[in-house]
């Protein structure tokens, strides 16, 4: 912190003073990670799309394996950098390379974009702090939001075909912005507060046990399936999927939907109500402990969205509803 000139002043020998002791030899621990970051951020461009900057990291990286604390400390170090929103990609790169299977992010950085970008299948990223837009963009792993995330989180997430890497889902346990999980093909679960357009254009399974803004599962495509056991309105607007609501809700335009099961129809199928209740009971404890959410996803097995869809379709088949 002390400027060089000032340091020299301390070492100057004023008249009548004894000669100061020579400074000790000191080698500052090298910060290779900071060097990589600076090299990368200098060349990174803002507003160019995540892929360009992410791939640039592959060139800048010198095969490091930083710890989570080191990565977090980089965020704090450069949080006032003019291109700071890109730091999310830097973290994602090393998260994806890390041998850790569960990674917890806990800093309050609502300006950060694309945290958890391309998270590999089987890995879990938990947001315990605050992150900005596009959390988990194009991820294949499990994303759990137990803090606050911005808009378009979980966009284009998709389970990988290999069973061992097929654990992929997005679970919201706290607060999240608009258009979460759009164009995704996996399991989306909301247990708390989601904003407008949760699961827009999704193709997987959407479970709502909390409160969503308008247009829940709107414009979704078959074989998308929505199970709504919470609050929302204008549900399934322009959807072509299977829409099930065990609570009283207001549907949007459902003329293209594969089939709509409103509350009164669901009550006619006790097995379905029980199944939804079981799902809820499985995820509900996660509200207080995010680890339970991970357990629930693991319990459902790889490609959980397909399993839920198959289970529900079988229940409906037994109740003489052919939705396939």
């Amino acid at each position: 912190m002390i400027p060089k000139l000032e340091q020299m002043a301390y070492k100057m020998q004023p008249a009548g003073h004894e000669e100061p002791a020579p400074r000790r030899n000191f080698g500052k621990p090298d910060s290779k990670l900071a060097q990589v970051f600076e090299r990368w951020i200098e060349n990174a461009r803002v507003h160019v799309g995540a892929m360009t900057n992410y791939e640039l990291l592959g060139i800048c990286d010198s095969n490091l394996q930083p710890t989570l604390e080191e990565l977090h400390s980089i965020v704090l170090h450069y949080q006032d950098h003019p291109k700071r929103q890109e730091i999310g990609l830097f973290l994602s790169y090393y998260f994806n390379k890390s041998p850790e299977e569960v990674i917890c992010y806990e800093l309050d950085t609502d300006w950060m974009t694309s945290l958890g970008y391309r998270l590999p299948g089987g890995k879990t990223l938990v947001n315990l702090g605050k992150t900005g837009p596009s959390f988990g963009y194009q991820a294949h792993g499990i994303l759990i939001n137990a803090g606050e995330a911005g808009y378009t989180a979980g966009t284009e997430i998709e389970a990988e075909p290999q069973l061992s890497r097929g654990y992929c889902s997005f679970i919201n346990l706290n607060k999240i912005g608009t258009y979460v999980g759009s164009s995704s093909d996996t399991l989306l679960v909301n247990l708390s507060n989601a904003d407008l357009g949760f699961g827009t254009s999704a193709k997987g399974a959407i479970l709502n046990f909390g409160s969503c803004g308008a247009q829940l599962a709107s414009s979704t495509h078959y074989p998308c399936m929505l199970i709504n056991d919470g609050k929302s309105y204008l549900v399934g607007h322009n959807s072509s999927g299977l829409l099930i609501s065990t609570t009283q809700t207001h549907f949007g335009n459902t003329e293209h939907a594969r089939r709509v099961f409103k509350q009164n129809e669901c009550e006619q199928i006790p097995e379905l109500v029980k199944y939804v209740g079981n799902l809820r009971a499985m995820f509900e404890p996660a509200k207080n402990d995010w680890k339970k959410a991970l357990e629930a996803v693991k319990q459902l097995g790889p490609n959980a969205h397909n399993k839920i869809k198959q289970d529900v379709e079988e229940i409906l088949w037994r109740a003489n509803y052919d939705t396939r």
């Binding site: 002390i2 340091q7 400390s73």
Partner: protein, 633 residues
């Protein structure tokens, strides 16, 4: 000799060594409030040492060594870390956000670590610090205080591990570099194998080192995380990164219910710091780290020092008067932020405000004589007898002095672009154009000139030059947020009709424009419709005798040609300074610069450029003050 006398003698020596003659003599007190040890009192600028603490320490350390380590440690807080109050406030505020209830404890330990690390590498302290930590750990163990014992051991371990001289003394050999270890590797290894070998060997060496330290298993585990955390000779950002890593490693040691007893001047305390120092530090943080850091520190001060009232928040509520406009959002809550931010760069022109100029003035009458100039005849006082000697009267003239405005600072008319393409005052990194406007406005105002301007997007809010700085600030913080197509006709009207000294913001709207057209003759209408935008200088020359016209914009103006013509006509009586924040548009405007009289176009593509240009313009007022303003750029 008594303890007090020994302390004073030690102080005299150390004060000279540290070259700190301005610090007051230390005080030996029976016990200290809060943590009963020693502390630096920032307000009194003196060290306070607890008698009991020294006595406890001297059971294991010679008195001289104990006093030396205490004095050097506390002087280190003044000279090395945190050294600057802004740094302390910022790190404390960040720690508060990350570690919540444990923040103070973690900051205190990190502060000691960074301080002693600097003392040891600068050779301003020696082994006595290491011994002091060893004794602290021993005492803590005796009291079964595992937390304090572990942290003292960790600190000592980090000094020994990271400073080569101490590592060598501990291990009896030099610390191996990575290259050195790799030299011992068997040949023919692949890159991955080499990496694994390096890792394994390093772990082996570290295990040997840890063994020598005599750490417990838990301490060894934490030491593994902290040993490579840098803490010496760092920037404020690097300190934050290290504080985080150190804090994360030791966090588990600190129980959540810990209550740090902080006295008047504890290391992690803000008690006893003078209000003026806090105020200065807040400005320092704003300049050093920007708006985000300023906001978190201000939030922390509200919590920890409720007696601190930000002097920049105290401003009259009448700051922004005027009728208002639906689209014009006033952001008066940001005035204090930008006011503080801009307050660091005020240049006062040191010269008499007014200079006398000679002039003729009438000083009575006398009877007309043949040969007197006829134009001096008083036609009304000559009873109708013009040019009759003895009857007609002529005015007499004398030479006198009048105050001249020749060397005064011009008034300011600053145009600020607040269209959607410009940053909002609440932008995370602040709006540089507003900061620039504040810097320029404050300087012109401080030098006795009137300040006013216009805030534009598709509409205009106009404030005539006046002496109310708050009204000017209010105008500059306002935000339209639309596109940019300047209503030059309205601006012309404002400029022509405004009255100096009025502090009411006026607005343009479509209705104004229609009314304006309705009152015009057909010929005038044609002129406006044909965009004949030349200002009638005769009418306003007297009013705008000396005016600096500053324009801050990204240049993306729909009718840029009109604006240039407007500047051209205004340039006959004013100086125009145009700051363009867009590189491409700057090139276009720069080409036209030579065709415009008294107009200077500058490129300000980064926030720093704009701030520096604003400061440069302000500083130029000083250099220009001894010459004719019109001829100096």
């Amino acid at each position: 000799m008594t303890l007090d006398k020994n302390l004073q003698e030690m102080w005299l020596k150390e004060k000279k060594r540290f070259n700190q003659p301005a610090l007051n003599d230390p005080e030996l007190v029976p016990a200290l409030e809060g943590q009963d040890s020693a502390a630096l009192d920032w307000e009194a600028r003196r060290i306070r040492v607890s008698q009991g603490f020294v006595k406890e320490l001297t059971t294991d350390l010679p008195e001289e060594k104990a006093l030396k380590s205490i004095v050097r440690h506390e002087l280190g807080h003044w000279c090395y870390f945190p050294q600057d109050l802004a740094q302390k406030l910022y790190l404390l505020a960040e720690a508060d956000g990350i570690f919540k209830g444990k923040a103070t404890a973690i900051y205190q330990w990190y502060s000691d670590l960074a301080n002693e690390g600097a003392l040891l590498t600068e050779a301003m302290a020696n082994e006595e610090i290491l011994e002091m930590r060893e004794v602290f750990a021993k005492k803590a163990n005796a009291k079964k205080d595992e937390i304090s014992a572990a942290l003292n051991n960790l600190l000592r371990g980090m000094y020994l591990y990271q400073i080569p001289e101490f590592y060598e003394k501990t291990m009896g050999k030099k610390k191996q570099t990575d290259e050195g270890i790799l030299k011992t590797a068997p040949t023919g290894l692949t890159e991955d194998e080499k990496k694994a070998y390096l890792h394994k060997e390093r772990e082996k060496l570290d295990a040997e080192f840890v063994k020598k330290l005599g750490l417990t298993k838990k301490e060894q585990e934490i030491f593994g995380k902290t040993k490579n955390v840098p803490f010496i000779n760092l920037s404020i950002e690097e300190h934050l990164a290290s504080l985080y890593r150190f804090g994360k490693a030791v966090e588990e040691l600190i129980p959540p219910e810990i209550v740090i007893k902080i006295g008047c001047c504890g290391n992690g305390s803000l008690n006893g710091i003078p209000i003026a120092a806090l105020d200065g530090a807040l400005s320092g943080i704003l300049n050093l780290k920007g708006v985000r850091a300023y906001n978190i520190v201000k939030g922390m001060l509200k919590k920890l020092r409720p007696d601190f009232d930000d002097p920049f928040d105290e401003r009259p509520k009448t700051a922004a008067i005027g009728a208002g406009h639906a689209d014009f959002k006033r952001n008066d809550n940001f005035i204090s932020l930008y006011d503080r931010w801009a307050s660091g760069a005020i240049y006062i022109v040191k010269r008499p405000v007014e200079k006398d100029a000679t002039a003729l003035f009438r000083s009575g009458k006398k009877e007309f004589e043949v040969g007197d100039p006829v134009h001096k005849i008083d036609v009304f006082g000559s009873r109708g007898m013009i040019g009759i000697p003895g009857i007609s009267k002529v005015h007499q003239e004398e030479t006198g002095t009048i105050p001249s405005v020749e060397f005064s600072i011009p008034h300011l008319n600053l145009g600020i672009d607040s269209s959607g393409s410009m940053a909002h005052p609440n932008a995370p990194r602040g709006a540089s154009q507003i900061l620039a406007a504040f810097i320029i406005g404050k300087n012109y105002h401080a030098n006795g000139s009137m300040v006013g301007g216009w805030n534009f997007s598709e509409d205009i809010a106009f404030l005539p030059p006046n002496r109310d700085l708050d009204a000017y600030f209010s105008l500059m913080c306002g935000y339209w947020g639309g596109g940019t197509y300047l209503n030059i006709d309205k601006l012309k009207k404002f400029v022509a009709q405004s009255r100096f000294g009025e502090k009411e913001i006026q607005f343009s709207d479509e209705q104004d424009y229609k009314h304006l057209l309705a009152r015009m003759t057909e010929e005038e209408k044609k002129q406006v419709m044909d965009k004949n935008l030349h200002l009638d200088m005769k009418k306003i020359k007297a009013k705008y005798e000396k005016l600096d016209n500053v324009l801050i914009t990204d240049g993306a103006i729909g009718n840029a040609e009109d604006v240039l013509r407007y500047l051209q006509s205004l340039g006959e009586i004013t100086r125009n300074f145009v700051f363009i924040t867009d590189k491409g548009i700057y090139k276009d405007w720069k080409k036209l610069e030579s065709t415009l009289p008294n107009t200077f176009v500058y490129e300000a593509t980064t926030p720093e450029d704009l701030r520096n240009l604003a400061m440069g313009r302000s500083k130029a007022l000083v250099t220009e003050s001894h010459t004719n303003y019109r001829r100096v750029q």
